[in-house]
């Protein structure tokens, strides 16, 4: 048999074992290719222009390369290890290492570039779908066309050729280290050293749990006002990140074994078959797996967290736009307002108009400030605030010495929370008026232009308003003090009204706003981010699922002798499979549960609109992981069947 024949025979025989490797390759290539196609698609210009979209996509593609190459290197490492026996055999019959390397390289070359072609083809066909999804979520009205980009092709080929070279280097190093002895060593390599549970390890386990809990605790305190200076906040964030990651590692390293050990001690040697296959096998490998599990958990948590955040911000765009406009349209100039009114009337669009005079006054909020604003570069005793008269609002009535604040941003609330009541002072140029502060309302009555994006609005008695109006401090006033808000009577005409608004082509400055417009731009920005984060997150989750699956494949082969023993002793395949299912539930469940927990705390502490939206990413992740879990159970089934 010539060497060429050998290569083909090997390939044919190994393809069955390698189908997952091939899948991983095709998957990575097609993802990368479709993403790069996206990058070069002319239809993308529209989305890219909107924000620094091009930069975002480029960064994402670099990240994608990193994820994919780490994944492929891991997969290759896994698959070459399974062939160490074969390599030893080749050496035994007198082949030089260089020869073996060239055989493996040729084999790999065919496999690798074959799957790459398939991947490019698949990537090309799904790229249109991906562009369609992107357009849909960024609300871009463009038609997605199937567009083959030679630039994308070249870039993909270059990137994957480099990865191929890296893989070859790894294989070379692997073969170089391989000796004929490894032919026999394969068996003994499974006999890892198991050490006894020491007190030290128990301490590590408990420490791990404590560190994670402390991280969670601080994260829930992050925005409650306990950390006020920027440095403190920054340190707290670093601490949370560090403590959660280290805690996760220690948890895997110690806590899991620790908890299992307690269970095992209690059983006093009397283990059921389920426990033999799950508990003891997990404990046996936990120490060597701790790092991998930590990395996977942390990155899954990151992926879930980012996915949820972008998902939430995408879907809260409308709410933000509403707060920002205080109605459907906001105009701050009487002349333009009149023009807009006319135009609307001409189109038969019914609306309510609201005119409010807004003044900026300097307020002393020292007495009602709950948090210490030192270090935030704000002086609470001299804070410029928008002020309106009670006359402007129908259902609010305040006495001459009272005031109510309204329209307060949740985010700002976290940083400078106010007491329920107290004394404040409003300052004009010369006069200072002390007032009773009665509380805070949620409604936004004037547009974001006046509130600087989220400051509360002080509502005062008409007389107070007049007094301050005469005594106003010109240096803190805005260009205009008139707010004209339009709210449509019929919400379904919003699209039409927006068209009118755009046709009038008002001055491109921040003074006016249209709710639909803001919401759409917001969606465009967040949509692209959501798309990229989603793309990367999914890639990451799939690759980490694959890696977990590969690991299970390896474990199942290592444990094959155990299954042989157990089956000889009279345990049926069904008995063993039940134990394996428990084990898989743990192997995939633990990174999933801990990842979800981590991301829950990350999202919850950083986001206040945290709502039902977070379920979608979470359920998605759960489904993904269960698919890989089921796949690995099926693989175990095959191994167990073959064990006797």
């Amino acid at each position: 048999m010539s060497v060429n024949q050998l290569i083909f025979r090997n390939l044919k025989k190994n393809l069955k074992n390698y189908y997952l490797y091939v899948f991983a390759l095709i998957f990575s290539v097609s993802l990368y290719f479709s993403f790069v196609t996206l990058q070069y698609d002319p239809a993308m210009n529209e989305t890219k222009d909107s924000i620094k979209g091009a930069a975002a996509i480029r960064t994402a593609s670099v990240l994608l390369v990193a994820i994919v190459s780490i994944f492929l290197l891991y997969a290759n490492n896994f698959f070459i290890k399974r062939r160490s026996k074969e390599i030893g055999l080749f050496q035994l019959i007198g082949m030089t290492k260089a020869r073996i390397f060239s055989i493996l390289s040729a084999e790999n070359f065919i496999l690798y570039f074959g799957s790459m072609l398939a991947g490019i083809f698949i990537g090309f066909s799904i790229s249109r779908l991906i562009i369609m999804i992107l357009f849909k979520i960024t609300k871009v009205n463009a038609i997605a066309r199937l567009h083959f980009s030679s630039q994308a092709l070249v870039q993909t080929i270059i990137v994957f050729s480099v990865i191929y070279l890296l893989i070859m280097v790894m294989n070379y190093l692997f073969i170089k280290r391989q000796s004929i002895l490894s032919l026999f060593r394969v068996v003994s390599s499974t006999e890892e050293k198991v050490k006894k549970m020491s007190i030290w390890e128990m301490l590590i386990g408990i420490l791990g749990l404590l560190v994670i809990i402390s991280g969670y605790y601080i994260s829930s305190k992050l925005f409650t006002g306990d950390f006020t200076t920027m440095t403190e906040l920054f340190l707290a964030m670093i601490y949370i990140l560090g403590s959660v990651i280290i805690g996760t590692y220690l948890f895997y390293k110690g806590s899991v074994s620790f908890i299992f050990n307690i269970v095992r001690k209690k059983r006093d040697g009397y283990l059921t078959i389920n426990q033999v296959l799950s508990l003891s096998s997990i404990m046996f490998r936990m120490k060597s797996n701790a790092l991998l599990l930590t990395v996977i958990t942390t990155l899954s948590a990151l992926a879930i967290g980012l996915l949820s955040l972008s998902y939430i911000s995408y879907y809260s765009a409308e709410k933000m736009a509403k707060n920002d406009t205080a109605g459907d349209f906001a105009i701050t100039n009487a002349k333009d307002a009149a023009r807009f009114k006319e135009a609307l009337a001409a189109k038969d669009i019914g609306f309510d108009e609201k005119r409010i005079e807004v003044l900026q006054v300097s307020a002393n909020l020292k007495n009602i400030m709950d948090t210490n604003l030192e270090g935030m570069m704000v002086d609470p005793s001299d804070l410029p605030l928008p002020m309106i008269s009670e006359r402007a609002l129908k259902n609010i009535d305040v006495a001459a010495d009272e005031t109510i604040f309204t329209g307060y941003n949740d985010l700002l609330q976290k940083f400078m929370s106010l007491k329920d009541s107290g004394r404040i002072e409003l300052k004009g140029q010369t006069e200072t008026i002390p007032l009773h502060y009665l509380g805070l309302k949620k409604d936004f009555v004037i547009s974001g232009y006046f509130t600087n994006g989220g400051q509360p609005i002080a509502i005062v008695d008409e007389t107070v308003f007049e007094r301050l109006k005469k005594d106003v401090n010109p240096s803190i006033q805005k260009k205009t003090s008139l707010f004209v808000g339009f709210t449509l009577k019929d919400e379904s005409q919003l699209e039409k009204a927006n068209q009118v608004y755009q046709n009038l082509s008002f001055n491109e400055n921040d003074l006016y706003s249209s709710r639909l417009e803001i919401s759409n731009t917001q969606k465009k920005n967040m949509g692209l981010i959501m798309f990229i984060v989603g793309f990367l997150g999914l890639t990451f989750l799939i690759t980490s699922g694959c890696i977990l699956y590969f690991k299970q494949m390896g474990e199942s082969e290592e444990e094959k002798p155990n299954y042989t023993i157990l089956r000889k002793l009279g345990f049926t395949e069904g008995d063993l499979l039940k134990g394996i299912q428990a084990k898989q539930l743990f192997n995939f469940g633990i990174p999933l549960v801990i990842g979800l927990l981590h991301s829950y705390f990350a999202v919850q502490s950083g986001w206040f609109l945290f709502g039902t939206e977070v379920w979608t990413p979470m359920i998605l992740v759960m489904i993904l992981y269960s698919i890989f879990g089921i796949l690995s159970v099926l693989y175990y089934k095959k191994v167990i069947k073959a064990a006797l």
């Binding site: 006093d268 040697g269 009397y270 003891s280 404990m283 155990n562 000889k568 002793l569 049926t572």
Partner: protein
């Protein structure tokens, strides 16, 4: 009453064109409480015979009855159940689970039976003291010596009080001291518990511990030796002599 009766068992591997007949009609009966050794050269089919007798492998022809139940007619699941209840195993390479401690390994066959934990503990103590491994019960297999591993394996075979115990070259990987140690324990247990043991070995010294030795050559029974009242030393000489004849080299004095 015979506990195991094998009737004209055949076993062949391969397909029709290239058939290799390993067992060519073997009849064996083992009585309760017997300690039987099966001897033969490499390739004589002794391990195949043991595998077939212990239901790990299927016969191509013939019947095997253990405790009146015909094993050859059973389905895979019934066989597994049967092995669990009625058979014990000791293997050359110990076949202990690395992931379990000595005690857990020994208690493994009890895990499906409905035996209370107290009862299981009692049994463990009895068998562990008999085999002298109680002080290593919390150690893992890779922390103990080969002899200890094999005794653990033996304890596992005895713990559920099976009808019959199959041992495949139990001393094959042991040094002579641990080997005779183990065999002494086995024959002790054989007498004390009237446990039935069928052992495959190629070591005449090991075989001399048993009460009966069956010689196999080329898939057929060659001869059978009974220890009877003679001493182990004499029995050993007998075995050596027979083995010499079996190997084609006459034993000379």
């Amino acid at each position: 009453m015979s506990i195991l009766a094998a009737n004209k068992i055949h076993k062949s591997y391969g397909n029709k064109l290239n058939k290799q007949e390993v067992l060519k009609g073997i009849d064996i009966t083992v009585e309760k409480g017997e300690f039987v050794s099966i001897m033969g050269a490499s390739g004589s089919g002794k391990t195949t015979l043991l595998n077939v007798l212990s239901s790990i492998d299927k016969v191509s022809g013939g019947t095997i009855t253990i405790e009146g139940k015909e094993m050859t007619a059973m389905k895979e699941k019934q066989l597994a159940e049967f092995r669990k209840q009625h058979l014990g195993f000791i293997f050359q390479d110990y076949n202990l689970l690395d992931t379990l401690t000595v005690k857990e390994n020994i208690l493994l066959p009890l895990s499906i039976t409905k035996i209370s934990k107290r009862e299981a503990d009692e049994r463990f103590h009895r068998v562990a003291t008999e085999l002298g491994i109680s002080e290593i019960k919390d150690k893992y297999p890779n922390e103990i010596s080969g002899g200890q591993k094999q005794r653990t394996s033996a304890a596992r075979a005895f713990i559920h009080e099976p009808s019959i115990i199959f041992a495949d070259e139990p001393t094959g990987a042991l040094d002579s001291k641990s080997a005779s140690d183990l065999l002494n324990k086995l024959s002790e247990l054989n007498q004390k518990r009237t446990a039935t043991i069928v052992m495959v070995t190629h070591d005449p010294a090991a075989a001399s511990f048993s009460g009966k030795v069956i010689f196999i050559k080329d898939g057929q029974i060659y001869t059978q030796l009974n220890k009877g009242e003679q001493s182990r030393q004499d029995f050993f000489k007998d075995i050596m002599k027979t083995q010499g004849v079996l190997g084609g080299v006459p034993y000379e004095r």
